[in-house]
């Protein structure tokens, strides 16, 4: 079993929820943000010492939800402050971006890290399409063309032009090309049937986040395996990454308390303005090709928000408690899903960084030794 340490880099100091999307940045404080970046990056570097296989981050826009408009900038810092841990950009929101720029930046990260990049090719949550004014109806078609182009840019050894539906380039020849041959491993979201099929089509690793129901998650994994099998490709368990909000402390009650407080801030403050924008995109565009998938997406967010910590543990949605109980929870989910990798997010909402670090130490000393051989 492998583990990834994931960070959203949330803004922790809001006292009131934004009333609409995008969130006003009037209360933003740059010196405080500098403190947060320093602390967050230190924690991500610390993940290597705690036995994590990957350290990951992602991209969000116009929101205190996450302070990484471009996670590659954080990845660049990590190339210099870590030695062996894989750097998982989970990832760049490909349909919103210039795919050649993504190919170039990812190649830089791969070379600077000596071949440690895991390249997330993510479609992005719905509201990001408003932020960058990209037609949400085209999200999947743009993703397909852009990923195809990025792989070409990484692997071609002579200049080439590109004439596509969304992208046109008269001549491409990126410097550097990636360190890993033929190219860095690719990870795609697979939180619903549509996206699981898409990840399988590209033989990418699949990532599942915000698991509300283990049966639904298992169904996505089955679809992914079916699609890859039809293509003659049998992904190993390490190709299946499941994301979990995690709080490990010495005492169960203490862990529940901090996770509940962090989730309260997350749902009531950080997610407040995003929900309206997400609903707007889902109802006013064809972001989800199938209507029922859009409904499932909204229901899942609501379900996760309304459950108690105990209910979330029971549903297999979070890992929370003492090391001994978290070991049991990890084994249970692994038994249900058969995945080979977990992506653990410790910084939920405004959980204090010392609590996060204590959880990482407990993971290193008492959890990992018991689950590494799963």
């Amino acid at each position: 079993m492998k583990f990834s340490y994931f960070h959203l880099m949330p803004w922790t100091d809001l006292t009131e929820a934004p009333t609409q999307w995008p969130a006003s940045n009037s209360t933003f404080n740059a010196p405080r943000a500098k403190e947060l970046y320093d602390s967050y990056i230190d924690t991500m570097v610390f993940a290597e010492q705690c036995g994590f296989d990957w350290v990951g981050c992602n991209e969000h826009h116009y929101s205190p939800y996450g302070l990484m408009a471009n996670c590659n900038l954080i990845g660049s810092v990590l190339t210099q402050r870590t030695k062996d841990i894989k750097l998982a950009m989970l990832g760049n929101l490909i349909p919103l971006l210039n795919p050649v720029r993504v190919a170039e930046e990812y190649a830089m990260l791969d070379v600077m890290s000596g071949g440690r990049l895991v390249a997330g090719m993510i479609r992005g949550v719905p509201h990001e399409y408003i932020a960058y004014n990209i037609n949400a109806d085209e999200s999947r078609a743009r993703l397909r063309e852009a990923v195809t182009l990025i792989i070409k840019a990484w692997t071609e050894t002579e200049p080439f032009g590109w004439e596509g539906e969304f992208f046109e380039y008269p001549s491409i020849s990126i410097w550097p090309r990636p360190f890993q041959i033929p190219h860095p491993p690719i990870l795609m979201s697979a939180s619903n049937e549509e996206s699981a099929e898409f990840a399988g089509e590209f033989r990418a690793m699949m990532g599942l986040t915000l698991i509300a129901d283990l049966n639904v998650a298992r169904r996505s994994i089955e679809i992914y395996k079916r699609v890859t099998a039809a293509q003659g490709f049998e992904p190993p368990p390490s190709h299946i990454l499941c994301g979990y909000n995690t709080c490990i402390l010495d005492d169960d009650a203490e862990a529940r308390h901090y996770l509940a407080e962090g989730q309260r801030y997350f749902h009531r403050i950080l997610m407040a303005s995003l929900r309206d924008a997400q609903r707007l995109v889902i109802t006013k565009s064809r972001y989800f090709g199938q209507e029922k998938i859009g409904e499932t997406f909204v229901k899942r967010l609501v379900a996760l928000k309304e459950r108690t910590i105990d209910e979330q543990i029971e549903a297999g949605s979070v890992f929370c408690g003492s090391p001994e109980n978290v070991i049991k929870q990890i084994k249970r989910v692994h038994g249900a899903l058969g995945n080979g990798m977990f992506n653990l997010n410790y910084k939920i909402g405004n959980i204090p960084d010392p609590i996060v670090r204590r959880g990482m130490e407990l993971f290193r000393d008492r959890v990992l030794p018991a689950v590494a051989d799963l």
């Binding site: 063309e145 195809t148 182009l149 070409k152 050894t157 002579e158 200049p159 080439f160 032009g161 590109w162 004439e163 596509g164 539906e165 992208f167 008269p170 001549s171």
Partner: protein
């Protein structure tokens, strides 16, 4: 817009379609025979487009002296001198791309700029090629079958054309002599491949031409298979028009582009 005309070349008679007005373009068809396409119509708005029927194709008389791809290239050279009257831009499609490459190698003075659409003669043995099954052939030819033209000839005529192609091609998939001769091409060249092309796979063939031809651009057409002019007529037409009209300047995006 296009008219059908006839001419007498040194080696025999030839039939061709001609349309438009302006700087001349010679279009060399592929294995199946000439297929009028939206791209030809677009080019004919600013150029004189010559679209000959290769001797022996579509029930036209064979030229007894034509026994190889090189011989056929010499026929087109004769066509340029006799009918067009001087050097011109050339488009070669599939098998016609193979012919056009030899034309550019053997008669560099007659080819000003060269466009190759999914050219043959450059792929590894055992890769690509034309399937015999009609349904499979259609699947591999068109990524967008809804844009395919209606059949321009009967199956019997198609197979006469195809057998003639096989005879002239001599069963070769990778023309080593041509590969060694690519550095002799002086024409600025644009090579186009569809990313879904299974008949002329782009990977090695594209790299061979990219490395061998001195002044060359290689462009991939997304969501296109072998029949580029039908799968993506707008993209291909605009690209070829820009290349022919602006030369190296086709690389520059500009509102001042002609």
């Amino acid at each position: 817009m296009f008219t059908t005309e006839h001419a007498e070349l040194t080696t025999g008679p030839i039939t061709y379609r001609k349309g438009g007005n302006g700087r001349p373009i010679l279009h060399i068809h592929g294995t199946g025979g000439p297929n009028p396409s939206p791209v030809l119509d677009q080019l004919a708005q600013r150029h004189t487009v010559y679209h000959p029927v290769a001797p022996g194709w579509d029930e036209t008389p064979r030229h007894p002296s034509v026994r190889s791809v090189r011989d056929l290239a010499d026929v087109y050279a004769d066509f340029i001198r006799t009918v067009i009257g001087g050097p011109c831009d050339v488009i070669g499609v599939s098998f016609g791309g193979w012919v056009a490459l030899w034309l550019a190698v053997r008669h560099p003075d007659l080819v000003e700029q060269l466009v190759l659409e999914a050219p043959a003669g450059m792929r590894d043995p055992g890769t690509g090629g034309l399937p015999k099954d009609p349904a499979e052939l259609r699947r591999q030819t068109y990524a967008r079958p809804e844009r395919a033209p209606p059949p321009a000839r009967t199956q019997d005529v198609y197979w006469v054309n195809r057998n003639l192609r096989d005879e002239l091609g001599g069963g070769i998939t990778l023309d080593e002599d041509l590969l060694a001769s690519l550095p002799r091409i002086t024409a600025r060249t644009l090579v186009l491949f569809g990313l879904k092309d299974e008949i002329s796979p782009h990977d090695k063939a594209g790299m061979r031409m990219r490395k061998g031809i001195p002044h060359v651009h290689l462009t991939y057409i997304y969501d296109a298979a072998h029949a580029l002019e039908f799968d993506q007529p707008e993209r291909v037409g605009n690209l070829i028009a820009a290349f022919f009209e602006r030369g190296e300047g086709f690389l520059v995006r500009s509102s001042q582009a002609a």
